[in-house]
């Protein structure tokens, strides 16, 4: 027969917490399974693996010259050395990492909407934010695994071909590099998710995200340079005075691009030889002992880059989160 209506307050918070966690784990696992079984995951993952392998092969050929220059941290050089006109593993990853994030996120929300599954989810006893959090977390998990897999591949190939065993500092540096790469990809994932919330069609969202990627990666530094030259011209009578300001403005404008930020950071973390990111005066350099930076000093140098990237990724996700929560789900 009929049940009595349940009391509205009893155990409400307990139930709500349970609802949140069961809903999250169901959605997270589904998203993860979707990613891992999707064709686009295979395509992007094999693209990353193949380009990394090619870049690795290039690195091997340029290795001899690089070792002659400085014989230390050979293992890290596997990531940064380029040869035979093939860019290094690190620069290839820097180009392609955004694509990974975009591919995993560009239709996250819009596909649910076009399939009509958003309605169905919205009528289940889960909070609406669970959906977007689960999507982001599942995407980030996939990204982290991809990034670490590439790292492991390079380590393995390095052991077999070069025979160098990485030291503890090298392992730590490589690990920081890979995690930082994952955060960089997560920024693009969050950006792609944002456009999937805002745009009706997945294609629009993908195109916008891809054009931002291309602009940030290829053209932004040029634009920064042009603006720098416009504001502080370096030719003419005041040219010499403007030199420093010109450089500073261009640099800071360039740093708006996550690509530039990423490149700066990884060049420090993968190369202990790099001592400064900034113009150093003659006085500061004179008397400096030629040596490698220790890991903590390198980290200190790029700490702003690490936090800024993390903050950018979280902010981007935060914006899409708010946007999604405020959106009305119409049948």
């Amino acid at each position: 027969m009929s049940q009595k209506p349940r009391s509205a307050s009893a155990g409400k918070y307990e139930r709500d917490r349970r609802a949140r966690s069961t809903g999250f784990s169901a959605l997270y696992h589904k998203e993860l399974a979707d990613h891992v079984h999707s064709a686009r995951f295979y395509i992007v993952f094999s693209l990353l693996i193949l380009t990394s392998a090619a870049a690795f092969a290039g690195a091997l050929s340029g290795m001899q010259a690089a070792i002659q220059q400085s014989p230390d941290f050979i293992f890290l050089k596997l990531f940064t050395t380029s040869g035979n006109s093939i860019p290094s593993v690190a620069s290839f990853l820097a180009y392609l990492a955004p694509l990974t994030g975009i591919v995993l996120g560009f239709d996250a929300i819009s596909s649910e909407r076009t399939q009509g599954t958003l309605n169905r989810l919205a009528s289940q006893p889960i909070y609406r934010d669970t959906l977007i959090i689960a999507k982001f977390m599942a995407g980030f998990t996939v990204i982290l695994v991809m990034s670490l897999a590439i790292g492991v591949m390079v380590v393995g190939l390095g052991l077999v071909t070069v025979g160098v065993v990485p030291g503890p500092e090298e392992i730590a540096r490589a690990l920081i590099y890979l995690i930082y790469t994952a955060v960089y990809m997560a920024l693009w994932l969050a950006l792609a998710i944002f456009f999937s919330v805002v745009c009706k069609h997945a294609a629009t969202s993908a195109l916008i995200a891809i054009s931002i990627w291309i602009y940030m990666t290829l053209f932004h530094s040029m634009v920064s340079g042009i603006i720098g030259n416009l504001v502080f011209p370096v030719n003419g009578i005041t040219g010499l005075d403007n030199l420093l300001n010109n450089y500073l403005l261009s640099l800071n404008l360039s740093r708006i691009s996550p690509y530039y930020l990423y490149i700066e950071a990884i060049s420090i973390i993968l190369n202990p030889n790099m001592r400064a990111l900034f113009v150093a005066s003659q006085q500061a350099v004179s008397g400096a002992i030629a040596g490698y930076l220790s890991l903590d000093q390198s980290l200190l140098l790029i700490w702003p880059h690490l936090t800024a990237m993390l903050a950018a990724a979280l902010t981007m996700f935060g914006i899409s989160y708010v946007k999604f929560i405020r959106q009305e789900i119409r049948a």
Partner: protein, 335 residues
Amino acid sequence: MPDSECILKTRSLTKRYGSITAVDSLDLEINRGEVFGLLGPNGAGKTTTTLMLLGLTEPSAGSASILGWDCTRNPISVKRVVGYLPDNMGFYAHMTGRENLRFTGRVNGLSEKKIEERIKELTERVGLSEAIDRRTGGYSKGMKQRLGIADILMKDPEILIMDEPTTGLDPEGTRALMELVRTLSVEEHKTVLISSHQLFQVQQVCDRVGIFVKGKLEASGPIGELGRQLEQSGMYTIEIMASPGGEPLLDLIRGVEGVEEIEPEHDVLLVRSSTDTRYPLMKALIDAGFRPEHLRQRGSDLDEIYRRYFDKGGDSHGTDDVAKAQKRFGRKVRA
């Protein structure tokens, strides 16, 4: 028998989008075990109402509650007991029907054992057993709808809200769906709210209907009662046909006292009047030498009720039918 415990209640529920009022102070009470049909034309605010009941849209004024829970402030509790079948229910196309149902079960926090049991039971019930392991991307509209029913029954809800459930279904599918709704209501005392514009299809299963036009509930009650209300408001509609038809017949009917409007519909003429004109009509026909073929008073069926209330609401319902009939009869006739 279902008792008369009120399970769903709205109090002057209102939703405005800018200057448009989609739902205008709706007062609705639905009792446990009842099948309620919310009928109205497209754009009447039916979907908006169902969305507010689920807490997916915030009302501009008023409130709605289900089983004592406020739909806006406590949507999770509401969604735990309400199964909602949206208009265009979608499934993950790359997953099989079974995987889709399993996912819904997990989202609802059911145990794996319970999930498999319910999938087995529900697929048999909706007649989808042989297709359940195929990808839903290849499902027909009817199969999707059946999977949708199974999907909302996964959590064993107390209330089912169905938004246009018969759209796109063939007559056999509709009949099966309505039978299922009946069973759920009678045998399991589930409360069902069906919103639809296809009155005939839902008419047979509804205990009560509400006529919903332009955001306002024009009338509600059992169908028979709505018919009587109309009769009392002095509106009669009589279907009539006699041979030979054509212009002389129209002229004759127009001349009968009390006749206000004549409208051709398919093979018959609809005569509207404020008094009972059946006898005067019959007499006039026979006196003039026509052979009456058909004479029936309308009013007790939903279509007429529906039409009447739509007219009241100022809606030009049935324009297609009228247009078709006008083509056949040449022109629209008014007395």
